[in-house]
């Protein structure tokens, strides 16, 4: 009996080991693809420098921003949006029944006035309480409605949009002034693009001046620094690589542009989804896969959106728990895509990757680490196997994190100085030896919570005021 137990344990150890080999091998392949893509992207930008379409040919867009209790960041976020360097766009903020001063602040700061207009029901959404136009900036519209969740707020704002492209942005995010020019260029550079995602980076530690990031400082908190490395990895090689393979399954809700005719076809954001952003892209991919690669969903590694990240482990665990529940819901709902040739690359590569490594990976990693340690203690695996596991699961992971930092060196706006580089290297070390295991636990917990019914709980979300540079404080 004991021998059978040992054999099963040993077999599990070997399985976990090969799981990490496969995961990190995929990461290495993606890194290679992304490094090439980023190099080419930068060279292409240099060649295209100064070559621009006349303004009347630049595709206009509507930015939609759902806001629920965002009083601390809303003015900075909207100000940054209104300053975008682009010939034609509008900003639609949907106040999703905030209980704080979000609406009052908007009214006061942007001189809003109520207007007698009605909604055109182009997307499914709840009733609207009031619509406000701004006397200060004609580009701004604020819609006030009862609290019905983020997807409903997105759909409501989309009903009022008047341009053929829609950009969704989170209310705790700041867009760099040139970000939309770069993001919209995706529709020019890749014919047939129906959605373009951009890079989301952490605003923690950064200083603001006139609604723009002026100084990029390293946050003092290790939790935030680890997330910087994590975001670099996720955005600079994960999404760039997946985009090159045409299997992108997620565009961050914080920053993405969609063609409105496609959005209308899939009836906007799913109001029952926990992760409405992933659900939307999965639906779009289903549609796109039927067009014989004529249409594409792409990711541009240059346009940047700055967002606030949780600064404590407690808040981070809530966020990651929610993300895992969203992933579980989306993937289980679309299980018919799993190795389904009908959906081409997305069915054969994209979906299986997310299902095996992002969804089931949470279980494997959560159980895998203690299992291997226990096997080592019980003498089921020898020291060489144990060391090999450490090398493959952790040191290889560290190599990948550090490599993604080199990709960040090719990207826009870097953390200045060598000290910052050392701090990021340190964060990469902590990320792989400690944080990653904790993250596996949060993901596992999120999955279990989804299975046992805690589906739509958003949990606690903390917002912070963006840090302003001294000059700007004086101006205020």
């Amino acid at each position: 009996m004991l021998t059978v137990f040992h054999s099963v344990l040993y077999a599990s150890d070997v399985f976990v080991f090969w799981y990490f080999v496969a995961l990190n091998a995929i990461y290495m392949i993606l890194l290679g693809i992304a490094a090439k893509a980023m190099y080419e992207y930068n060279e292409e930008r240099r060649i295209e420098r100064g070559v621009a379409l006349p303004p009347e040919f630049m595709k206009p867009f509507s930015v939609i921003m759902p806001a629920f209790n965002e009083e601390l960041a809303i003015i900075d976020s909207v100000t940054a949006l209104l300053q975008l360097d682009y010939p034609e766009f509008e900003v639609l903020v949907c106040n999703d029944g905030s209980t704080d001063k979000t609406l009052d602040l908007l009214k006061e700061h942007f001189t809003l006035e109520k207007v007698e207009v009605e909604k055109m029901d182009r997307y499914p959404c709840g009733p609207v309480k009031a619509v406000y136009f701004s006397r200060k900036d004609p580009k701004l519209v604020v819609i006030d409605k009862e609290n019905r969740g983020k997807p409903d707020a997105l759909n409501t704002a989309a009903c009022f949009s008047r341009y053929p492209y829609i950009c969704s942005v989170d209310a705790d995010s700041l867009l760099a002034r040139d970000s939309m020019t770069k993001l919209m260029h995706g529709f020019v550079a890749v014919p047939g693009s129906v959605a373009v995602g951009g890079v989301v980076r952490l605003a923690n530690g950064a200083k603001l001046e006139k609604g723009q990031i002026r100084e990029l400082g390293m946050p003092r908190n290790m939790v935030e620094r680890i997330q910087i490395v994590e975001y670099f990895r996720a955005f600079l090689f994960g999404r760039v690589g997946f985009s090159r393979l045409n299997v992108l399954l997620i565009i961050s809700g914080a920053f993405g542009v969609f063609r409105q005719d496609i959005l209308e076809q899939i009836k906007g954001w799913n109001r029952k989804a926990i992760g409405e952003d992933m659900e939307l892209v999965v639906h779009m991919q289903k549609l796109v896969s039927q067009t014989n690669n004529r249409l594409k969903i792409i990711f541009a590694p240059d346009p940047v959106c700055w967002t606030q990240a949780p600064s404590t482990l407690g808040l981070l665990s809530i966020q990651r728990d929610r993300w895992q529940r969203a992933l579980t819901q989306c993937l289980t709902k679309n299980i018919n895509m799993f190795f389904n040739l009908k959906y081409r690359n997305i069915g054969m590569i994209g979906y299986p990757y997310y299902f095996i490594f992002e969804l089931l990976g949470a279980v494997i990693e959560f159980i895998g680490y203690p299992l291997v340690i226990m096997s080592f203690i019980l003498g089921i695996i020898d020291l060489r196997f144990f060391l090999l596991f450490i090398a493959v699961a952790l040191v290889w992971g560290l190599c990948i994190s550090v490599t993604s930092l080199t990709l960040a060196e090719l990207s826009y706006k870097r953390y200045p100085g060598r000290k910052a580089l050392w701090q990021l290297l340190q964060a990469a070390l902590y990320e792989n030896f400690g944080y990653r295991q904790l993250h596996a636990y949060w993901r596992f917990k999120g999955m279990i919570r989804y299975i046992f019914g805690k589906k739509a709980d958003w949990g606690e979300v903390h917002r912070y005021r963006f840090e302003h540079s001294h000059r700007n404080e004086g101006e205020h």
């Binding site: 007698e116 560290l398 080199t406």
Partner: protein
């Protein structure tokens, strides 16, 4: 059974165990190399920034002196030695980028006398791929007619999309209108470029290219996509001699995408007497045609087509409804009065669109495209 399982997993695990030392060694070496590379990359980035900061005022001063004829060849070579070529390349990239009418004669003189231009020409001949494409683009900034033959030969022989694009830009910036047809053929037919990039490239030719392009449009058998790009180009430059050709193309258009571009160009360069050709499109099954047609009619004939615009406010497409309402709002006092009446209409579509556009006008929320249209002479 247990023995078989044991030996099976031993065999799988065994290979891994045997490789432990190798894996550790490889990963450690990789880690060290990548960290060194990371710091080197940071150093290189910083170094470029520092050098550019130092060199930019020197280049500025040199350009001033050469323009004023107070500099000799020795000084040019002193300020711009071969080691400074990469910085000069970046400098002109910032200074001369843009496809507008820029005088690059001083920079071109400096590039010739310092050997920078020859250095680029050698790179173009010696290398391929990205290196060639970047060198071609740098050379194109100088707008030197001496390089036309080089650009033409690259356009004909190279197969790398970005090198072809850079060569086409070079020809455009040098004003080589003879190569227009070849550029179009290469960029659109032989290389999978998209229409916006082709249009951007054509714009490098500026007004010089308009006559030649009009001839190409009138004479050559072109695919509708190419016709659309040429018409966009001519419309952007408001090249009125192209009007008869555009009207003819629109009248016989079978491709809807191309027809959209013909209507947009007509809106820019046509007049009230050209409206007839647009009327059938108000009843087209494609909503984009109806939308473009009403925009163009309003632009060309003001309130003459007020009733047609009102009919379109009951269109099944919300995009057409809104555009029709906006068109009516621009049709002077008659249009505004009609729109105000429509804001109380029983028909929901008409009422919603009218109310929205009236409110938008009051707050200055006018779509930019029409502000642009208003500025057309």
């Amino acid at each position: 059974m247990t023995d078989a399982l044991n030996s099976f997993v031993e065999s799988i695990g065994g290979y891994g165990v045997f490789a432990a030392a190798w894996v550790w060694a490889i990963l450690s070496i990789y880690l060290i190399v990548i960290v060194i590379h990371l710091f080197n990359r940071r150093h290189a980035n910083e170094s470029v920034r520092i050098h550019m900061k130092k060199k930019t005022p020197e280049f500025d001063e040199l350009i001033e002196k050469v323009a004023a004829n107070t500099s000799d060849d020795a000084e040019i070579r002193r300020v711009l030695p071969p080691a400074a070529f990469p910085y000069f390349a970046r400098y002109i990239e910032h200074r001369l980028a843009g496809t507008g009418n820029v005088d690059a004669s001083v920079e071109s003189t400096i590039a010739e006398k310092s050997g920078f231009a020859d250095h680029l020409r050698k790179r173009i001949q010696k290398h391929g791929g990205w290196k060639r494409a970047l060198a071609l683009r740098s050379l194109s900034y100088l707008r030197n007619s001496r390089d036309i033959e080089l650009f033409r030969s690259i356009l004909e022989t190279d197969r790398f999309k970005h090198a072809i694009f850079a060569a086409a830009l070079g020809l455009g910036l040098c004003g080589d209108t003879e190569s227009l047809e070849a550029v179009l053929r290469k960029l659109y037919v032989e290389t999978p470029s998209n229409r916006d990039m082709v249009l951007s490239t054509l714009l490098a030719y500026g007004n010089k290219g308009a006559d030649a392009m009009n001839k190409v449009l009138a004479s050559a058998e072109l695919v509708p996509a190419v016709q659309g790009v040429i018409v966009d180009f001519l419309g952007t430059l408001k090249h009125r001699p192209a009007l008869p050709t555009i009207l003819k193309l629109l009248k016989h258009a079978t491709d809807k995408e191309a027809a959209i571009h013909f209507m947009e160009a007509l809106e820019k360069i046509g007049s009230e007497k050209d409206c007839e050709v647009l009327l059938p499109y108000l009843k087209d099954s494609d909503f984009r045609m109806r939308l473009k047609a009403i925009n163009a009619l309003e632009r060309l004939a003001g309130s003459r087509y007020l009733d047609e615009a009102e009919q379109l406010m009951n269109d099944e497409s919300p995009w057409v409804t809104r555009n029709a309402a906006e068109a009516i709002s621009r049709m002077g006092p008659d249009g505004l009065a009609r729109l105000k009446a429509l804001a109380h209409d029983r028909n929901e579509r008409k009422r919603l669109a009218a109310k929205m556009v009236i409110a938008e006008r009051e707050f200055g929320r006018i779509r930019w495209r029409y502000r642009y249209a208003n500025s057309i002479p």
